[in-house]
């Protein structure tokens, strides 16, 4: 009988290794036999380094390790990991964290910046601890650069360099070719038609706030449209949904009328703030279309759901309609209901294209070459993944 016991315990431990119990090992009395003799295997590959988040106070150190061999499987199932921190390599120090099994990383918060720390990580099975893995010294620092954002910085700098380079080229008088953008010439045509019919032009700069770059692109186009309208002596109505956009539009239009030599024709009552509320604005603009009957409706800027409300009401009043937005979800409606539509980036291109100011074309050229780079990276990525180089995705992983 006595010989049976070790044999039994051995076979139980083998069985347990093969078919780990669902609960913790501590619940299974038989494994106690084994537990008395050995501690769980130690964790390996422990590393400690400064942890960098986006609001860095230098008070965090990041730890990572490989799980103990007894984590999850095996008779010596790990109950928890214990993380100790000290300021000397051979001290046990202070227990800073106990972590659930399966955890292989931890961020220790609350360290003093600039102080060197040593870490010990032990696997604990409820009775015994594994030998400690040690790492250190690690120092929490207040960093000045978010390294995980390096790819963003590199690509941004490349992009800036190209934009600035082309802008300087243009400023020196180099002729930069830009292909015809369908729909842009329609803007002038539309204003012309309104003049012939003796009816006003309606220009809606979207419902975006002025921090939306689309709104600024729209104000640039507005300045161009206002000049034509001033020359033709056609009234220009600009309804806005944001106070600041309204006051900027006032400045832009007043300036354009002055430049066109008709400062007296500027009517401040035609630049109107209607409402910040989306559909109060939409309803009021529909009212303007029905009652003041503009012959040309231009919708350029950031639009949301009101896009189709404008375009269909405008269609009913038989106005010629040109639209443009970078809000992709609204493009289908403008495309189906308006006469011409500027898609996405064409809106930004339009301000450069219409003003024909060479300096503005630089940005357009820069983003064109950025597109070439992007396409090359994507193609390279496809090829590299096909060749079995999995790192590609990781290079572009940022936080």
């Amino acid at each position: 009988m006595r010989a049976l016991l070790p044999a039994l315990s051995l076979s139980v431990s083998v069985l347990l290794a093969l078919f780990p119990p669902a609960g913790r090992a501590a619940d299974a009395p038989l494994s106690e036999v084994v537990r008395e003799t050995a501690a769980p295997a130690a964790v390996t590959g422990l590393q400690a380094r400064d942890y960098l988040d986006n609001n860095d106070r230098g008070d965090k150190i990041e730890l990572s390790w490989c799980l103990s061999a007894d984590d999850g499987a095996g008779a010596l199932s790990v109950l928890e990991y214990r993380v100790w921190r000290s300021q000397a390599p051979d001290e046990q120090g202070e227990l800073v964290a106990t972590l659930e099994p399966g955890t292989a990383a931890h961020v220790d918060t609350g360290v003093t910046p600039g102080v060197a720390y040593y870490y010990r990580v032990e696997a604990f099975d409820g009775a015994l601890s594994s030998p400690a893995a040690t790492a250190g010294p690690a120092v929490g620092r207040i960093n000045l650069f978010q390294t995980s954002r390096l790819p963003v910085l590199v690509l941004s700098l490349a992009f800036f360099a190209m934009v600035i380079w082309f802008t300087r080229l243009a400023a020196r008088g180099t002729n930069l070719f830009v292909r015809r953008i369908p729909g842009l010439n329609a803007v002038e045509e539309a204003v012309g038609r309104a003049t012939e019919m003796g009816r006003p032009v309606l220009y809606v700069p979207g419902i975006g706030e002025i921090d939306d770059i689309q709104t600024i692109a729209s104000l640039t186009i507005l300045s161009h449209v206002a000049k034509i309208a001033a020359e033709y002596e056609t009234p220009l109505i600009v309804p806005t949904a944001r106070s600041v956009v309204m006051s900027a539009a006032e400045e832009v239009v007043k300036e354009a009328y002055a430049e066109a030599g008709h400062p007296d024709n500027y009517n401040p009552d035609n630049i109107r703030y209607l409402s910040d509320a989306q559909f109060a604005f939409a309803g009021a603009v529909s009212g303007i279309m029905m009652r003041e009957r503009p012959a040309a409706n231009l919708y350029l800027g950031a639009f949301w759901a009101e896009s189709l409300l404008f375009a269909e009401t405008g269609f009913e009043t038989k106005a010629i309609q040109v639209a443009g937005t970078a809000n992709v979800s609204q493009l289908p409606f403008f495309v189906t209901a308006c006469d011409y539509t500027l898609l996405g980036e064409e809106l930004y291109a339009a301000s450069a294209y219409l003003s024909r100011e060479p300096k503005l074309l630089g940005g357009l050229k820069g983003s064109d070459w950025m597109k070439v780079i992007t396409i090359c990276i994507i193609v390279a990525g496809v090829v590299l993944t096909a060749l079995g180089v999995p790192q590609f995705g990781r290079w572009f992983f940022t936080q």
Partner: protein, 283 residues
Amino acid sequence: MNRLGKFLQIDRRWIFLAILIAVLAPFIWPMGLPIVITKPVQDLYNAVDAIPPNGEPLFISIDYSPSTVPELDPMALAILRHAFSKDIRVAVLTLDPAGYGLAERALEAVAAEFGKERHKDYVFLGFQPGISAVVLGMGINIRNVFPEDAYGTPLSEIPMMEGIRNYDQIPLLITLSGTAVVEAWVIYAHQPYDAQIGAGVTAVMATDYYPFLDTGQLVGMLGGMRGAAEYETLIDRHDAGVRGMDSQSVIHILIIVLIVVGNIAYFGSRKRAPETAGGDAAA
């Protein structure tokens, strides 16, 4: 112009009338068509379901305004009901000034339904302007952006908010929005702080966010009234979402019939009268 050509110029008010009839009829004679659950909805449901009861709260950001109430209110109600029925704590906030009253209305209604207690089971944090600033600020400390709840109680005195500092203690944040606010949550909360973001959006915005589901930037998504109807089916509590689905079917069929009829008329009349109305579909 032949008879078909005239049909193309039909007064659009007849179309409006047809739509009105198509939406009303199923209300009076419901058909009860079955509803299939799609993956983004199931994913969001599972993510909510996985939150432990009476622990770290589910955050719901009611970022919509009155205009999108029909689509998004049923979502808010369904998610709140799901959470409260599982005893999951809920914190509600809004980044849209017009969402204040709506958020309060939805939260109080469902909380009363389940007999939940303010500050113990749920909290209404109110509105803070400056979308990106708030979203980023919550990554550092919620108390910086919401020092107190909507009724002036400091967060430190609210039991359920104890220990809830930033996105690390928020198992899931669901934004319900008809605008680009979802993107702000992704860019300023998921990117820098790795917050888990789920979204409920209007059907039209859903197309914008499919790429975000693919890259894991969004945990799951409800798209439009259909998404709400699916969620209502999942929690087995039919409401406005499910009720409207029959009308949806009928109107969709009506529009398709209109398009087909329009095309038949177009081809029939084209030989004599070239059609000029309508926008140029090519870009």
